[in-house]
Structure formats: structure tokens, C-alpha cells
């Protein structure tokens, strides 16, 4: 989003950001399976370099500087990578969580197989996510969006069991179909108005199209939305997400917190705010249906989550519900609601990755994968359960965990927009969240283990520190980000700056 008072300069920084993940990816593919140390060093070096780059970029970008890299791609259209506040925001989240997930994955896959393949695609997945974050026009976005689909397939199928392959096939069927819709929409739109650059209040050319031919504009919006809604898991296109749960825990964590699902909602935010522009979208009358769709998704995901006994399945449906908060935020008119939606990209990411890390720890240390088996686990794995409790409370929206700030902004934004019923949906969703997370937490701490279930005494550690450490960091971060929500570079401050357009 290019606001006023900004200065765009050509720069090599954007491709360098991609290279911090691409180089490790390519080298790791060439490594032999047993070269563990080299792989670890490469992974961590890339992840740290990226976190460092992002950290250095935050102050100048918030001060109004933009870094852009542009090469001709197809005739008439450039491949554009641009560092702007929203891009940096998403990039920051993915860089931070990628670093932690990499550490976690190293612990998780200590004795796994095909680790070079795994970490290669893992890094490639981050390349794609970074590319999505940095894309400056629609075509660039589509390219990286497709790359993400392809890079994640091997991760979902990693275990290569029949179930994993089936889940991965479902995933591919959904996302490729979505990709076709997105590509079709992008090509059609480009054919009509030329290359679509993302801009703060929507692309001017798209605005003219909406003025000239609202019916086509609406159709295009719908087409692009369908493409994005698959990854964003909006009902009824969410079916792949619970089935992709067969993936290893770090992959699920990344899929749910930063990569695939977030790419979908990031795209929806771009579509509404930067392609069409919130005002144009409002005039076209597409935001009302989008609000309804988001609300249906929020409630449906929660209702389905209630009935899952598998911990990961419950978390998956919870993601369906929670990620729709972001969509809801952009669909409800007004800056307050949009801020709530944008800030939830980070908040949900931190809380959900914590929950998945915990699920992975419970599964790998004690072999527990079902909610009904978790009675009394708190005594055996107190740190893990404490982290899980933080994440769950955040999802419900209980202060002082991050989720409540989102709910505050979304609720207030809905009221400001005169949509009180959206607040009712949020309240209902919170109660449902409590209904499916509450019993899990209560079971962990106050449940009595079944007599036939033998939980080892708390002697040994809860798991490798490479797994416990990141879990505690993300749980802590879910509280800290709102504890300091008023400071300049907190997610909330960033979200405000993004929504207000450019300079804070």
C-alpha cells in the first residue's frame, strides 16, 4: 500500500529476502541424509538472516521508505517485489515463526527419514510465503501462491502412509482448483485493465472498471475470492484443512499459523483493500456477502470443532473458525474492524502455532493424540500444558492473551459499522470456543487419568528442548504482544499503521 509521503526506491533487498530461504532450500536438497549438522546450520543461518533483515527494515519502512525490485516477466507485466508495511508485517510473522518452527522441527524429526527432502521443501515453502508477502502486483502474487501449493504438497505427504497420501491428494485437489480460479480471475482482470498493481486504496484501473461495468467487477471479485477462499479455508471450501492434519506437527503448525491459511487471508485482505479498495468493494456490494460468509465460517468451524476427539482435528476446525476473523475484519467497513482483522493475522499465528507445538509434544512424548486421553496430563507435562492453556485462552479471547485485543477491535468495529449482529456472532463464537477448548484445559489440569492409562511420573523432561523452547517462546509472545500493545512496533501498532495507510 503506497500512501502519501512515501518514497519508492529500487533495491536488491526484496530478492535478497527471498534468497535467505531459497539458498538453504537448494543446498539442503543436495545434502546427504546424514549431514545433520550442515542442514541444521543452513536452516538456522537462513532463518536468522531473515529475522535480522526484517528487524532492520521495520523502522525505515514505517518511516515511509519503500524498497522495490522489478523485472520484466511476461510481455507487458513485471514481476514486482516491494517492501511495504503490510508486506513487512506478514514477512515478520513468517520469519519469526519459521525460525521457531525450524528449531522445533529439528527436535521433532530427530529420528525421522527423508529429512533433506523435508527441510528442502520446508524452506521452499517459506520462499513462497515471503514472495506472497512481498508481491507488488497481482501476477507476482499468483506465481508465488501457486509455488506455495506445490512446495507444501511434499510436506503434507511426508509420512508417505496411505492416510498421508490421501490427505495430501485432497489438499492438492482443493488448492489446485482454487489456483485455477485465481489464475483465471487474475488473467481476466489483467486483460481488462492491464497489470494490476497493489495500491493503498485500491488499484485506480480496477476502480474505473467497477464504475464502468459493475457486473463484471463483481464476477471478478467472486472468482478471485474463490481462489483465495480455498487456502483461507472459508466454508464450504475448508474440507482440505482437517484432512491435511496427517502432516507432521511442525508442518501443521506452519500450515495453520503462517503459510497456507495465512496466505489465503493475506490475499483476501489484499483483494479487498489493495486491488478493489474498501470503498469500491463497498459500492459494489460484495462486502455484505463476504461478512456473512465469514460469520458462517466462524460458527461452522466452531460447531464442527466441538465434535472432534482428535486433538489436531479439533485444532484444525478451530483454525477454520479463527482465520475467518481476519476475513471478517476486512469485510466489515471501517478502520477499527480492519485493524482487528489485520492484527489477528499475527495473534492467531502465535496462539495457533503454540497449540500445534503442544499437540506435537503430547503426541511425541506420551503418544497422546485424542482429547479424551488428556486427563491429568498437566502433572506429567506442566510446561506444555501451561503453553496450551495460554493458547486456548487466547483463542477464546480471555485477557491477557492476545485474542482479546482482536475481539475488542472486531466487536467495536462491528458496532461502529452498525452491524450489531456481528458482535452477537463473535460472542457466540467465543462461547463455542470455550466449549471446545475449555474441557481440554480442564481435563489437563483437573482431570483424573483413567486407571488403565499409565502416565509416567514427571522425572524425564517433557521432550527435547528444541521442541519445548519454541513452544514456550510462542506462548510467552502471545501475552507479550498485547502487554506492550501500545509500543511503536507492536503488532497492534503495525496493524494501525497499515490500516491508516503508510506512515504511522
Amino acid at each position: 500500500m503506497i500512501g502519501s509521503g512515501t518514497e519508492v526506491q529500487a533495491s536488491w533487498i526484496p530478492p535478497v529476502i527471498l534468497l535467505t530461504s531459497l539458498v538453504p532450500a537448494l543446498v539442503i536438497f543436495l545434502l546427504r541424509e546424514e549431514q545433520r549438522r550442515a542442514r541444521t546450520v543452513l536452516n538456522l543461518a537462513g532463518a536468522l538472516a531473515k529475522v535480522g533483515l526484517v528487524a532492520v527494515l521495520v523502522p525505515p519502512v514505517l518511516a515511509g521508505q519503500r524498497f522495490e525490485w522489478r523485472v520484466p516477466f511476461v510481455p507487458g507485466t513485471d514481476l514486482v517485489l516491494r517492501v511495504e508495511p503490510f508486506a513487512l508485517y506478514f514477512l515478520g510473522l513468517s520469519a519469526f515463526l519459521w525460525l521457531l518452527t525450524t528449531i522445533y522441527a529439528i527436535g521433532y524429526l530427530r529420528e525421522g527419514r527423508d529429512r533433506s527432502r523435508f527441510f528442502g521443501f520446508f524452506s521452499l515453502c517459506v520462499v513462497a510465503t515471503s514472495g506472497i508477502a512481498l508481491s507488488g502486483n497481482l501476477v507476482t502474487f499468483v506465481v508465488f501462491y501457486e509455488l506455495l501449493t506445490l512446495a507444501t504438497y511434499p510436506l503434507v505427504a511426508h509420512e508417505q502412509t496411505a492416510a498421508a497420501l490421501r490427505g495430501a491428494r485432497t489438499y492438492l485437489a482443493y488448492t489446485l482448483a482454487g489456483g485455477v480460479a485465481l489464475l483465471l480471475g487474475a488473467v481476466w482482470l489483467t486483460a481488462l485493465v492491464g497489470p494490476v498493481e497493489f495500491a493503498a486504496s485500491g488499484s485506480a484501473a480496477v476502480g474505473e472498471l467497477a464504475e464502468r461495468d459493475p457486473a463484471t467487477a463483481r464476477l471478478l471479485f467472486a472468482l478471485l475470492l474463490v481462489g483465495l477462499a480455498v487456502k483461507a479455508a472459508l466454508v464450504p471450501l475448508h474440507g482440505w484443512l482437517p484432512r491435511a492434519m496427517v502432516a507432521p506437527a511442525p508442518v501443521s503448525a506452519l500450515l495453520h499459523a503462517v503459510a497456507v491459511v495465512k496466505a489465503g487471508v493475506f490475499g483476501i485482505v489484499l483483494l479487498v483493500d489493495d486491488v478493489f479498495g474498501a470503498e469500491v468493494a463497498q459500492r459494489l456490494g460484495v462486502l455484505g456477502p463476504l461478512t456473512v460468509l465469514a460469520c458462517v465460517t466462524i460458527l461452522w468451524g466452531s460447531v464442527r470443532a466441538l465434535r472432534q476427539d482428535g486433538l489436531k482435528a479439533r485444532l484444525a476446525y478451530s483454525t477454520v473458525s479463527q482465520v475467518a476473523y481476519v476475513t471478517l475484519g476486512v469485510a466489515v467497513a471501517g478502520a477499527t474492524a480492519t485493524t482487528g482483522g489485520v492484527v489477528h493475522i499475527v495473534h492467531q499465528g502465535l496462539m495457533k502455532i503454540t497449540l500445534f507445538f503442544c499437540a506435537g509434544l503430547l503426541a511425541s512424548t506420551l503418544g497422546l493424540t485424542r482429547v479424551s486421553e488428556l486427563s491429568g496430563v498437566g502433572r506429567r507435562m506442566p510446561l506444555t500444558c501451561a503453553a496450551f492453556t495460554v493458547g486456548a485462552l487466547g483463542m477464546i479471547g480471555v485477557p491477557p492473551v492476545a485474542g482479546y485485543v482482536t475481539k475488542w477491535y472486531l466487536g467495536l468495529g462491528a458496532l461502529e459499522a452498525g452491524a450489531g449482529w456481528v458482535l452477537a456472532v463473535l460472542v457466540a463464537s467465543s462461547l463455542l470456543n470455550a466449549a471446545y477448548f475449555g474441557p481440554v484445559v480442564a481435563r489437563m489440569w483437573w482431570g483424573t487419568p483413567a486407571p488403565e492409562q499409565d502416565l509416567p511420573r514427571p522425572r524425564r523432561a517433557e521432550g527435547p528442548w528444541a521442541m519445548v523452547g519454541p513452544t514456550l517462546v510462542t506462548a510467552g509472545a502471545s501475552v507479550v504482544v498485547v502487554l506492550v500493545a501500545g509500543l511503536p512496533f507492536s503488532p497492534l501498532a503495525m496493524a494501525r499503521a497499515i490500516v491508516e495507510g503508510g506512515a504511522p
Binding site: 467465543s430 483437573w446 514427571p458 500493545a485
Partner: protein, 590 residues
């Protein structure tokens, strides 16, 4: 003095984290560490105590960088209640350290977290901070309720959590409506609500949300099941401090003194009276002293509810009613908290040389709660009477009716005493921290309110000692005692049916209307479950059918085409060879 505010919040949290960290492990060093941490946890409340004593001299707190902006100050409502909260939580922590409950460290950690939330509610100066504290207090309190892990505790925990979450959500929606109307700062909130286009919805949500916390009938059902299930120190803070948060919520957000709301005001007064008197039936028919005490809390909160209701009805009386409600809350917080702790203290010390002082202290507390002269209860009741005297509320004569709440209290407390005192106490111990803190509560619950009301709330008139005033305070208690004597005599001589003479809670179980509500909820859940299963089956069948159709239809023709083409491959090769030969022949031909 930002540092003092910061210490008041940070120290208890730090202690809570340390206690939680030390909670697991069975080694001797771990146990010593736990004991030390628990013993010293009282100290972490010191900064909060300093704040309450300093009052406005401590200055306001303003931290724009924290959360959604944290502001706090000590006013006429928050300051005395904060003082009570500090004393009460301190007493509860001391009692926890001495008690023989399991997992004392966990209980202590939860108490400390609840304290931070509770204190935040009392001193918050803006809506977001208030909500933060409200949640920070309510949700961890679930751990207090279910601490004993018995089936009764789990059931109580479920009831508590469901109602608390409903309360939480109603409060969130209500508070957001207040903020929308421009009431982010609590000082502006009543006026903002009064001018809000959503006045009715806002007031309704606030009454519902805070009513659950304050034990407003018929939302009180969690109290009589939660109190007996929770360990006594936890009951003490639940009843003494936490339910007062509901009252504070009403006082902060309702448009008291701004606009007359006859409908909502009447509703609140009627429900509050229902609670104040209706609980007598289940309360005296119980065998558990803590259930009787819990119902007495509901009755007393009903009294306070009447004050708030009248303030809603008649804006001119609002100021006096609010102050009277605060005085009453301070009195009840200290006295009822003390009574709940008496249960623990009595069980450990009732046999020893402390027997007589204990009995005397408990009698003092009970008389104070009932409103006997010279006690804090009489001050509070006198204040309430003064506030209500000019009221024109014509459904019931409030000034004539409310003294009878004292009779209800007397009966309920007598019932609790009848059940508690003969129970065989454990071995006698010496004087320890829990007895000392309990003694502080005895003083606080009986005479301190008197002093504080004169000192901090000069608008409230304290009762004189003339015969009329004294008689006004005495007769409800005497009436209650007379009725108790009658009941005891009748049951001794077998004049009553057995179920009434020695009630054990089967006639009207603790939680009264909770029981049918639970049954209805269970039935509704069963229906929903069946519906969900049916939907799932339908969907699975449809999906299977769709898959079958897909498997048959397009694949068939595609496969056939593929067969056809692959059959043509050798044929194609033959064609190519033939064509090549023909070409060569033709090309070769000149």
C-alpha cells in the same frame, strides 16, 4: 507513583509464577521451597495495601503502552473495597499456608492471580482495564472452585464456568457498547450510557453480566454449589471479594444519577428482593454450613441489589445509594469472608485453648452480618435506610421490608452455626498466621466499617446510639433468634416432620433452580448430539454416493478413449512406417 502501582500488580504475579513453578516435584527441597513461597506470599500484597492506605495520595496510574492503555485511580468506590480485598486475600493466603489441603501451592498461585484481577476491577479507570481485570479474576477462579477434584467440585466448576463465560460475554458486549457511546473513561461512562442510542440493550447486558457475578436471583445458582465445593479460603474470597466485582461493575457502568430507568430499576429491585428473601428456604434446609453461608451471601447481595435498583429508578437518590452500597459491600466483604475462614480456623483450633476466643469472634462476625447494633452491619444498614427513606418506589415498602433481611441472615447464620459447631474439630494447634489474619477480619468486619464510613465517605451518616436507632437494628436479629429457638425446640420435641427437623439438603438441594436447569441443558445437549450424528450420517451417505457417481461416469468414457488411443499406437506406428516407405518411393521416383 507508578512504581507502587507496578509493584502492586507485578509482585503477586511473580509469586504466583514462582509458586506454580514449584508446584510439581516431590523432593524435600521442593517442599521447603513451596512452604517458604506460600508463607511469604502475603508480602506480595504489601504494595496493594500501601495503595489502599495512601488513597488518592498515590496518584493515578497511566500506562498508554500497556494492553489497550492501562489507567487506574483510587476513588470512593475502589479504595475501601481494595482495602477489604487485600485483607481478605491476605487472610485466605495465610489460611491456605496453614490448611491441610492438597496442592497448596497451586491454590496459592490461583489466589494471587485472582487478586490481581480483582484489584484491577476495583481501581480501573477505563473500560478496557476493567474488562482485563474482570476476566483475569473470573477465569482462574474456576481453579479455586474445582480444586478438590471431587465430583461435587467438578459439577460446581461446570456451573461456575458456564455462568462466568456468559457473564464475561455479556460484559464484553455491554462494555463495547459503552465504549461506542464514548464511555472509555469510567468517569464518563454513566453519562455516555445515558445518552447512548442503545441504552436499553446496554443496561440489559450489564445487568445480566454483572448480575451473574453479584449473585442476582435467579442467576445466583453457582454460588451455593461453588462455595461448599471450594476450599474455605477460596470461598472466603469468592464471597467476600469477587462477587463485589459485579457490584462495582454496576456502579461504574450503569447510568446511575443520569437518567431514570423505571423498567430496569423495578426489575432489578424485584429480582434483588426475590434473592434477599427467597434463599431462606433452600438456605435453612441444608446440612452444609458453607451452603447456608453461601445463601446468606446471596441474600445480602440482594440487599445491595435493591440499593442499585433504587439508584436506577431515582437519579436523585443515586449518590446516597451508591455510597450505601459500597459501605454495605465493605462490611459484608470483611464479615462474610471472616465467617467463611472461620470454617477452616474452627476445624483446626476449635478444640484447643482458642475455643472461647474463636466462638466469641464468630459470634461477633455473625451478629455484624445480621446487622446487630454497634457492628459494621448496622452502619451499612443504617446508611441504606437513610438512602432509601426518600424513595417513592411503591411496589413494596422498602424501608419497612429491608430490615427483615437481617432476620433472614440471622436464620441462615444460625443454621450454619448449628451444623458447624458440633462437628468434631481436628487436633488443636497454637496461634498461627491464619488465626491472626482471621482476627484482623473480625475487627475489620465488625468495627472498621464504622470508622472507614466516617473517614472516607462523609456523606454517609453513621448511626447514633439513641434508643430508637438501636432498637431498629436489634429487633430483626431478635426476631431471627426467636425463630431459631422455636425451630430448635420444635425439632427436639419431634413436632416437625423429619425432613424439616433434620434437613439434609434433599428437600431443596443446594443450587435450587440449578438442578432443573442442568437437566434441561443435558437434554438439549443430547438432542443436539443426535441431530449432529444424523446430519453427519446424511452427509457421509451423500458423499459416498457422489464418489460412486464420479467413479463410474467420467472415468468410463475416458478410459475407453484411452484404450482406443493406446490401441492405435501400434497402428499409428504402422501408418508412419507405411507413410515413410511411400514417401521414399515417391520421393525416390524422378
Amino acid at each position: 507513583m507508578t512504581w507502587l502501582w507496578a509493584a502492586a500488580a507485578a509482585l503477586p504475579v511473580a509469586w504466583a509464577v514462582a509458586l506454580a513453578g514449584a508446584a510439581s516435584g516431590t523432593g524435600e527441597r521442593r517442599r521447603t521451597l513451596r512452604r517458604r513461597l506460600l508463607r511469604t506470599s502475603l508480602l506480595s500484597l504489601a504494595p496493594a495495601l500501601a495503595l489502599a492506605v495512601l488513597g488518592p495520595a498515590a496518584g493515578p496510574l497511566d500506562l498508554p503502552w500497556a494492553f489497550l492503555g492501562v489507567t487506574a485511580e483510587l476513588d470512593d468506590v475502589g479504595r475501601p473495597l481494595l482495602l477489604v480485598a487485600v485483607v481478605l486475600y491476605g487472610a485466605a493466603l495465610a489460611a491456605t499456608a496453614d490448611s491441610r489441603t492438597h496442592r497448596k501451592a497451586v491454590l496459592g498461585a490461583l489466589l494471587l492471580v485472582c487478586f490481581v484481577g480483582n484489584a484491577t476491577v476495583l481501581v480501573a479507570a477505563d473500560a478496557a482495564t476493567f474488562y482485563l481485570g474482570y476476566a483475569l479474576m473470573s477465569i482462574p477462579a474456576y481453579g479455586l472452585v474445582v480444586h478438590e477434584r471431587t465430583d461435587a467440585a467438578r459439577r460446581a466448576g461446570r456451573a461456575y464456568l458456564v455462568l462466568t463465560l456468559v457473564s464475561e460475554m455479556a460484559v464484553l458486549a455491554g462494555v463495547l457498547l459503552v465504549v461506542l457511546a464514548g464511555g472509555m473513561r469510567l468517569a464518563d461512562a454513566p453519562a455516555a450510557v445515558a445518552g447512548s442510542p442503545h441504552l436499553g440493550v446496554t443496561v440489559g447486558l450489564l445487568l445480566l453480566g454483572f448480575g451473574i457475578k453479584a449473585g442476582l436471583a435467579p442467576l445466583h445458582v453457582w454460588l451455593p454449589v461453588a462455595h461448599p465445593a471450594a476450599p474455605p479460603p477460596a470461598s472466603a474470597v469468592l464471597s467476600g471479594a469477587m462477587i463485589k466485582a459485579g457490584l462495582v461493575g454496576w456502579l461504574r457502568f450503569l447510568p446511575l444519577g443520569e437518567v431514570a430507568l423505571p423498567g430496569w430499576g423495578t426489575l432489578l429491585v424485584v429480582l434483588a428482593l426475590l434473592g434477599a428473601f427467597g434463599v431462606l428456604v433452600p438456605g435453612v434446609l441444608t446440612a452444609d454450613p458453607k451452603v447456608a453461608l453461601a445463601y446468606s451471601s446471596v441474600s445480602q447481595m440482594g440487599f445491595i441489589g435493591v440499593l442499585v435498583g433504587v439508584a436506577l429508578l431515582e437519579p436523585t437518590l443515586a449518590e446516597a445509594c451508591v455510597l450505601a452500597a459500597v459501605v454495605y459491600a465493605v462490611h459484608h466483604g470483611a464479615a462474610k469472608g471472616g465467617l467463611f475462614l472461620s470454617v477452616t480456623v474452627w476445624r483446626f483450633h476449635g478444640r484447643g485453648r482458642l475455643r472461647v476466643p474463636l466462638l466469641a469472634g464468630m459470634a461477633l462476625l455473625a451478629l455484624a452480618v445480621a446487622g446487630a447494633p454497634l457492628g459494621s452491619g448496622s452502619v451499612a444498614k443504617y446508611a441504606a435506610k437513610q438512602a432509601l427513606e426518600p424513595s417513592t418506589f411503591d411496589v413494596v415498602d422498602l424501608v419497612a421490608t429491608l430490615p427483615l433481611v437481617g432476620t433472614v441472615s440471622t436464620l441462615l447464620l444460625a443454621r450454619a452455626a448449628v451444623r458447624l459447631l458440633p462437628s468434631t474439630p481436628a487436633d488443636a494447634w497454637g496461634v498461627d498466621a491464619s488465626v491472626l489474619t482471621w482476627a484482623v477480619l473480625v475487627v475489620g468486619g465488625t468495627v472498621a466499617t464504622w470508622a472507614l464510613a466516617g473517614l472516607w465517605a462523609p456523606v454517609v451518616a453513621t448511626p447514633g446510639l439513641d434508643p430508637v436507632t438501636t432498637w431498629d437494628a436489634t429487633w430483626p436479629v431478635l426476631l431471627g433468634l426467636a425463630l431459631t429457638a422455636l425451630a430448635v425446640a420444635a425439632s427436639r420435641r419431634d413436632l416437625l416432620p423429619r425432613a424439616l427437623a433434620h434437613p439434609d439438603g434433599t428437600l431443596v438441594p443446594a443450587g435450587d433452580v440449578l438442578v432443573p436447569a442442568e437437566r434441561a441443558a443435558a437434554a438439549a445437549l443430547r438432542v443436539a448430539d443426535r441431530a449432529a450424528r444424523a446430519t453427519g450420517r446424511t452427509r457421509d451417505r451423500a458423499a459416498a454416493r457422489a464418489r460412486a457417481v464420479l467413479a463410474r461416469a467420467p472415468v468410463g468414457p475416458v478410459d475407453r478413449l484411452e484404450d482406443l488411443l493406446s490401441a492405435w499406437v501400434p497402428a499409428g506406428a504402422a501408418v508412419l512406417v507405411v507413410a515413410g516407405l511411400v514417401g521414399l518411393v515417391l520421393g525416390g521416383a524422378p
